[in-house]
Amino acid sequence: MDPRRAGIERRLHSVKRIVAVTGGKGGIGKSLISSALALVLSERELSTGLLDLDLTGPCDHVFLGFETGLPSEVFGIEPVIHHGIRCMSMAHFVGERPVPLRGEDVSNALVELLAVTRWGELDVLVVDMPPGLGDAMLDALRLLRQAEFLVVATGSRVVLETVRRTLRMLSENGANVLGVLENMQREESVGVEELARCFGVPFLGSLPLDGGLEEAMGDVARLAATPVVAALRRRTGVISGSGFARS
């Protein structure tokens, strides 16, 4: 018998909301948006956690510039506090090493991490999901029943097709979808908005393609001042019981 499932419940007991940032497709900005969302929420004095569940390709530490290196072990694993955000990532454990993990290992590592990380009291835990409809997604549906899914998409046809699969899977599994957020918008287009309408979930607006993002990466103050984060700030409103507020 695996005691860790009971452990997960205990560890997430004082986490009020879990927002899982997903989309199914890689490279659409899930990690940027997860990192930026954690930043925006913590600016609003919400106690915020950020869990990078892309175990083989963690990126949040690069966006926010938090130090890697083993987290401390005190009655569990302590998230690393960075600009007020409680962060947890595989990068803490492995630095720049590759972490080849088969699905079963992904599932096991994710369960272990959830069972021993002491988030403490959190208003929101932002979970940055990896691409694909694999172990991490199925485990989020299985173990994080209270999770609300924030689906990211871009206007590209290949992205829309993949995100459509993801929305269909979320809807078939009765998941709670916060809405669909367009990223890297270059020109006015309706693809993402139509996709949201098609699944009867809120369209949360568009974040611009931001040529200055690369320079701001790794520096929280500069990141907070980019047009893309400014747009996200306007889009998210106050996270309250009613979810994201439309601007």
Binding site: P3, A6, E9, F93, N108
Partner: protein, 136 residues
């Protein structure tokens, strides 16, 4: 000392089982500690004792047995079977500590002794599991 979090999980799971099966007393819990995770048998037993809730009558006279299960590996690349002492690495203390926290990090730090692949299966002895819960 992240062992405490795992020990709490063990007690929660045991009490859940007691609830489900309508037991008013848990007489024995057998815990297996996988060698890969390197959790000390004495440490874990001690931690469990410390957090045993005094106010919980179902745990009032529970015997706790802690057994260490040796780790065994099978390489998916070359089919070699090996044990902990044969695995290549971990090369330093941080690697051992990482595996202690998340046993799957074995795939980042350990290698098959025959072909150097990180693509091995942990066939036994990964981490903490509950082997038996007895009660009445």
């Amino acid at each position: 000392m992240h062992e405490l979090a795992l020990a709490e999980a063990v007690l929660d799971a045991a009490l859940e089982t007691a609830e489900l099966e309508g037991l008013s007393l848990l007489t024995r819990i057998e815990i297996r500690l996988g060698e890969l995770q390197q959790i000390g048998k004495e440490t874990f037993g001690f931690v469990l004792g410390e957090i045993m809730p005094a106010a919980e009558p179902r745990l009032a006279s529970t015997r706790i047995d802690v057994v260490v299960e040796p780790a065994r590996f099978r390489c998916r690349r070359c089919e070699e079977r090996f044990c902990m002492s044969q695995a290549v690495g971990p090369e330093n203390v941080d690697a051992a500590e990482a595996i202690h926290l998340i046993p799957e990090l074995a795939h980042a730090f350990l290698r098959c002794p025959a072909c150097c692949s990180p693509d091995f299966e942990v066939t036994q002895g990964r981490g903490v599991s509950i082997h038996a819960i007895e009660g009445e």
